[in-house]
Symmetry: C2
Subunit: 240 residues, 2 copies
C-alpha cells in the first residue's frame, strides 16, 4: 500500500498523521480497483487496518477522503490573503494565492491525476469539487471586496476578478491533469494569470479613471505624418 | 394556492402544464411554512391533489422542484448561442446570453426571492445551484471556445470570459434578490456587463497582438520633455 502514488507522494508532508495518509492510500487503491460507488468506508478501514471511528475522525464523509488537502489549502490561502501587506497590488495578490492551490496539485502529480479521473466519473464528486472551487473563489473575492471597499462597483469588480482568476487556474490545472508530462504547470499558470492581470490591472477601473492625470497616450498610424502626430501629442499634453 | 407568488407569477407561461405549476406552488408553500427538509414529496403531492408519479414525471428529485425553470432557460441560452450570426462579437453575444438568465429571475420576482432565501438556508440546494451555475458557465465557454478556436490561448480566454460574465451576472442578481424593490435588475446587469466587456473587449488579446502593425501607441508622462517623447515616437514608428 505504501507503494501507491497517493501514499508515496504524501509521505513528505510531515504534519499529516500516518493513519490519515494510510486511509487516503487505501481509499484511492480501492476506488481505482473497484470504483468509487462500490467501495464502502468499511472496505477502506479494513484495508488500512484501522477502525471506522478513525476514518470519521479525519473524514466526515467518504467524499472528504477524495479531497484530503483542500481544507488545509483553503486555510493556507486565507492566511496568505489575511497577511497581505497594505500596499500589495490586490490582483497580483489573488494571483499569488491561486498559485498556492496549483502547487498543492503539482506537488503530488500521480495522486492529483487519479483524483481528476475519479472526479470526472462520479457526479457526486463533481458536485463536491464545485463546492471546493466555490470556497476558493469566495476567499479571493472576500479579500478583494475588502481592498475595493468604497470604490464604485467594488464588490462587482471583486467578484469578477476572483472568478477570472479561478477560471484561469482551473483551465491551466485541467490541461496539466490531462497530460501532466507535457509541461510545467506553474509556468503555464503564470502565463494564464498574466492575461487576467492584463485585463484587470488597469481596465477594471473605467478607462476615464484608469490613467493618472499626468500620463498622456497617443495612438497613431505608423505612416501618419510625424508633424501631425506631434501636434496631437502637444494638444494632449495641454499645449495645443 | 393559486394566490401564492409562485403560482400567480407562473400563470402567464402558457407552455407549462398547469399540474406542473400546481406542484411548484404546493412545494414552495410547504417549504416556506415547514422548511425544506421537513417537507416530503408525499406532502407536496397531497397538497397539489395529484399522485406521486405525476411529481416524478416533472421533477426527478425534490431539489429539482426548487429550480423548475433552469432546464428551459439553459436550453434557451444554448439555442440562442447556437443561432449566433457568424459576425457577432463573441463577448457581446455571451453578455446577451446572460441577460436571458436574469430575465427568467426578473419576470417572477416573488418566486425568485423565495427561492433565494430557501437556497441560502439549505446546503443541498446551494450545491444544486452551484451545479446549475456551472452548466450556464460551460454553455458560454463552449460557444466562446468555438469562436476562439485557433487563437493562441483560445480556450483559456473562453473560460475566463465565461467566468467573468457569470460572476457579473450573479453579483447583480444577488444584489437584486436581496432588495428587489430597489432597482431595475436589467439596467444593473447592463452596467455590470459593460465592465466585463471593457476588460475583455480588446485586452483579452495580448497587447502585442492587439493592434494592427501599422498602429503606434506612445505612453508618456505629461511633463516629460517633448523632445524625448518625439524621439520615442520616432523609434516606435521605426525611424529611431
Amino acid at each position: 500500500m505504501s507503494s501507491s502514488g497517493a501514499a508515496a507522494g504524501r509521505g513528505d508532508r510531515t504534519e499529516q498523521p500516518p493513519m490519515r495518509d494510510a486511509l487516503i492510500a487505501a481509499a484511492f487503491r480501492l476506488f481505482t480497483e473497484r470504483g468509487y460507488e462500490q467501495t464502502t468506508v468499511d472496505d477502506i478501514v479494513a484495508l488500512a487496518g484501522v477502525g471506522r471511528r478513525s476514518f470519521f475522525r479525519y473524514f466526515p464523509t467518504k467524499e472528504d477522503v477524495v479531497f484530503p488537502d483542500h481544507e488545509r489549502c483553503l486555510a493556507d490561502m486565507t492566511a496568505f490573503l489575511a497577511a497581505s501587506p497594505d500596499d500589495a497590488e490586490p490582483v497580483t495578490r489573488v494571483c499569488d494565492a491561486a498559485r498556492l492551490v496549483l502547487r498543492m496539485y503539482a506537488e503530488n502529480p500521480s495522486f492529483s491525476v487519479q483524483r481528476y479521473r475519479l472526479t470526472k466519473q462520479v457526479p457526486g464528486l463533481r458536485a463536491y469539487e464545485l463546492s471546493v472551487v466555490w470556497h476558493y473563489e469566495r476567499a479571493l473575492a472576500r479579500y478583494l471586496r475588502e481592498r475595493f471597499a468604497g470604490h464604485p462597483d467594488g464588490s462587482l469588480r471583486a467578484d469578477v476578478i476572483a472568478a477570472a482568476v479561478v477560471a484561469a487556474h482551473n483551465n491551466t490545472l485541467r490541461s496539466w491533469l490531462r497530460s501532466p508530462d507535457r509541461g510545467d504547470a506553474e509556468a503555464a499558470l503564470d502565463h494564464a494569470l498574466a492575461q487576467v492581470r492584463e485585463a484587470f490591472g488597469t481596465v477594471a477601473i473605467p478607462p476615464s479613471r484608469a490613467l493618472p492625470e499626468d500620463v498622456v497616450v497617443v495612438v497613431s498610424r505608423r505612416d501618419a505624418p510625424l508633424w501631425r502626430v506631434v501636434r496631437e501629442l502637444e494638444s494632449a499634453r495641454g499645449h495645443g
